[in-house]
Amino acid sequence: MSPPMARSSPLLEVRQLEVVYNHVATAVQGVSLEVADRQIVAMIGTNGAGKTTTLRAISGFLPAEDVAITDGTISFDKRPLAGRLPHDISRRGVVLVPERSKLFDTLTVQENLHFNVTRRRREIRDKVFDYFPRLGERTSQTAGLLSGGEKQMLAIGMSLVCEPKLLLVDELSLGLAPIVTEEIMGILQNINRQLGLAMLIVEQNAAAALRVASFGYVLEGGRVVFKGPCAQLMEHQDIKEFYLGGAEGKTRSYRDLRQYARKRRWWG
């Protein structure tokens, strides 16, 4: 199965990625994925599946971090990314909205948003205020004191100011009310349609992510266990049951789980 827009070579192409923490803990083992231009791709999976690690590997590690890409390739716009520093990768247009510490908490909303606003980028900043009017009302507030939803909006706004060609969004629903998650997902979808900005969205809230994306990957234990167009994934029996809150009337049994594990192996 290949992404629907595979005719031209994809914008982001990850091949057999392997990431190891502290020289011993393999968090991602052989993940391959693709994001085409203008496409929203979802990556779902339970806690510890390796979603954050995958996004962090794409967006680059600092030399001080004890983690390494031990195998595989990452290419963006046909150029290799693996091994580059985060500032280099983000300047090339791959910009991450991290799962945690996504803002400079001691700086104000304005200062966060203006972190790297040049004269040329002022238009984008204005657009951010259009997408997230609530930020405009809080420009002089310290970012650390914003509500969870506002923090997420500011983080996305900051990323947009970096002029991304591909936005990586890590678990935007974390700690947010479902309705706020919905709202922000909707705005991301709008941004995608209006600017044609490609996105790779990582979520535990599978329903929310699969709704806005066109293609999806399911990660487990550092491996891709399912992939396919979102419409197809949403109809998949196992995904329905284990990620979308279970099919009606059926309860999970140990036998189901075992069956599921067997299928998973076959897919992986």
Binding site: G60, E65, L85, H87, F104, L107, E111, F115, N116, S159
Partner: protein, 288 residues
């Protein structure tokens, strides 16, 4: 009045020293134990630059010293500190102690431990009724301090690079993910720190004789930084003034011989009573 001027002048030097320590600490969580040595080496460089220009062009001497000190700061970062990325910060602190020893040796080698003084034009501008004098050096010292801090605050508040500096100090990974080259920020921090150390050293040298022993002023600077809070520039100013006041009052009212020990006494008191300083943030200490 005379007392106030004396404290302000001494405090300005301490505050400048503390500022350099704070800037490096903010950017990298490294406590720089070589700051006093950097200040005195800077002052010796200024002295030598003055000899080379035959005291003809003060401006040239100042510019040359400023450029050399800033470049030396960058060199320290590139040659020593950048390699310590990922190491615990105490390792870096040990490296700065090593640097201090090397710099002190350099004073012996290059300047033969000569006791020298820096002659800025020293004119009496005002004589106090009690006998003290306000000299041009006093005014220059306080003026330099005010200009330096004003420029620094304006830089941090109102420029993009200043914002990026503060952001990188708080969260280097996020700054990097937002297209900022953290290496450049750190190099800039060291350049500013060594520049301000040199400025403090030159001002110090224009009122007292320079010798390898003068490097002890680093401890006053460190104490001032700790009193104010290692991560607070505002604290550097307040801390510098407090340490100066305590030192000066002890010398005046109790015993001049005792005043040397005052910074150490304050240092110990602060470490026990309020280790994060007046303006510092308590959480910061966990990282030390």
């Amino acid at each position: 009045m005379e007392l106030l001027v004396s404290i302000l002048v001494l405090g300005a030097t301490h505050a400048l020293l503390a500022a350099g320590i704070v800037i490096v600490y903010k950017a990298s969580r490294i406590v720089n134990f070589a700051h006093g040595e950097l200040a005195i080496v800077g002052a010796y460089v200024f002295y030598s630059a003055g000899l080379i220009t035959h005291g003809q062009s003060l401006l040239l001497t100042v510019l040359a010293t400023a450029a050399i000190s800033a470049l030396f700061g960058v060199a320290i970062y590139v040659a020593l500190m950048r390699r310590l990325v990922g190491q615990p910060t105490f390792v870096a602190a040990m490296v700065t102690i090593g640097l201090a020893i090397i710099l002190k040796a350099a004073i012996v080698v290059f300047w033969q431990s000569k006791s020298v003084g820096i002659n800025l034009t020293r004119q009496t501008l005002y004589s106090f009724p009690s006998g003290g004098r306000l000299t041009s050096v006093d005014v220059i010292t306080i003026g330099c301090c005010i200009v330096f801090f004003a420029a620094l605050f304006a830089f941090f508040r109102h420029t993009r690079l200043g914002r990026q500096f503060r952001g990188a100090a708080e969260n280097p990974l996020l700054a990097s993910q937002r297209q900022v080259n953290v290496n450049l920020i750190l190099a800039l921090a060291w350049a500013t720190a060594v520049f301000s150390a040199t400025l403090a050293g030159v001002l110090f040298g224009s009122r007292s004789m320079l010798s390898p022993q003068s490097t002890i002023i680093g401890l006053s600077g460190l104490t001032a930084a700790l009193v104010g809070g290692l991560d607070s520039l505002r604290g550097a100013v307040i801390g510098g003034m407090l340490v100066a006041a305590a030192t000066y009052l002890t010398a005046r009212l109790i015993d001049p011989a005792l005043s040397e020990a005052v910074p150490f006494a304050i240092l110990l008191t602060v470490m026990i009573w309020r280790p994060w300083g007046i303006y510092g943030t308590p959480e910061e200490l966990n990282r030390v």
